[in-house]
Subunit: 161 residues, 2 copies
Amino acid sequence: MSSDPLGFAPHDHTRCVQSALAEVVRLCAERGVQMTPVRRRTFEILLEEHTAMGAYDVLARLDAEGLGSKPPVAYRALGFLVDQGFAHRIERLNAFIACAHPGADHNPAFMICRTCGTVAEAAAGHGPLGASAALAGFQIEQTVIEAEGLCPLCQTPETAP
Amino acid sequence: MSSDPLGFAPHDHTRCVQSALAEVVRLCAERGVQMTPVRRRTFEILLEEHTAMGAYDVLARLDAEGLGSKPPVAYRALGFLVDQGFAHRIERLNAFIACAHPGADHNPAFMICRTCGTVAEAAAGHGPLGASAALAGFQIEQTVIEAEGLCPLCQTPETAP
DNA sequence: CGCTTCCTGTTATGTTATAACATACATAGT
DNA sequence: ACTATGTATGTTATAACATAACAGGAAGCG
């Protein structure tokens, strides 16, 4: 597993795994929070798969490595990563994915291919809700923006997986 | 139950229940699909509560009225309403809410108050994803746009429920 | 009538998520 | 060294959400 879609373009991501890991380790030190073995491995698993994974899929991997076999182990580690902004939860899929830009101040949006399941992260503000929210007096704290559709490869039957 | 928040402003919604029901009945006839008792009652329940409800909450109501007691009954009826655009699924809450504008061609966005649970529907295009998606060559079919925060009432502690 | 189609009833199970409690382990204060 | 504290982990049990699969019944149509 060294070549996989990021966004929707193939790339070698051995390097991005390394750099993302280094970055989150640095951020943890900076923030005074702990990057423990379970948390670290959970993050690595998400990075390696480079796609949205269910909590129980992550748990199966952790279990195979002797790092924990009960749901709370996975949910706690994933919760930590999400809280720190190192991973995101994809509501539509009830799944988690490593953040493409850990540490960056961003309110992410996602594009989910319904055919191949690839998930790409894009930048987004609070979206078109800003105006509506202001009008209604609603104070936005967080937004979920997820689009489902067809990625470039899956639009042409011949090239689809 | 005759006065409840719509959007975030109190209103009498006896009338909107009536008109929404009449509208969906008309649309069903127009589309050649059936508005059966279970479906109709499910829609009415969502309209009456006028808030996001879990499938099992809806099921409990249906059961109390002798319309079905097993999960598939509720999920089928809710699925029908969502398919027809008469209700929406709120991914963040794993819940369902009656559509504020049945029949209208709209891609809805939602504002969810984390304190009182009120959900307001707002219009949205495909949001800020349009540009990113076009750039990536991603073909959007459907979007989920959900904001969580504080509604006007819950921003001032004295008036909060 | 025999056929199809659509809706409903039911069983059983699968999937996702968390509450609650117990234990371990590091570090700081005395 | 001792104990208090905070943080992380281990474990049990269960809650909450969702669907596969099959059986039966009512309506429409040749």
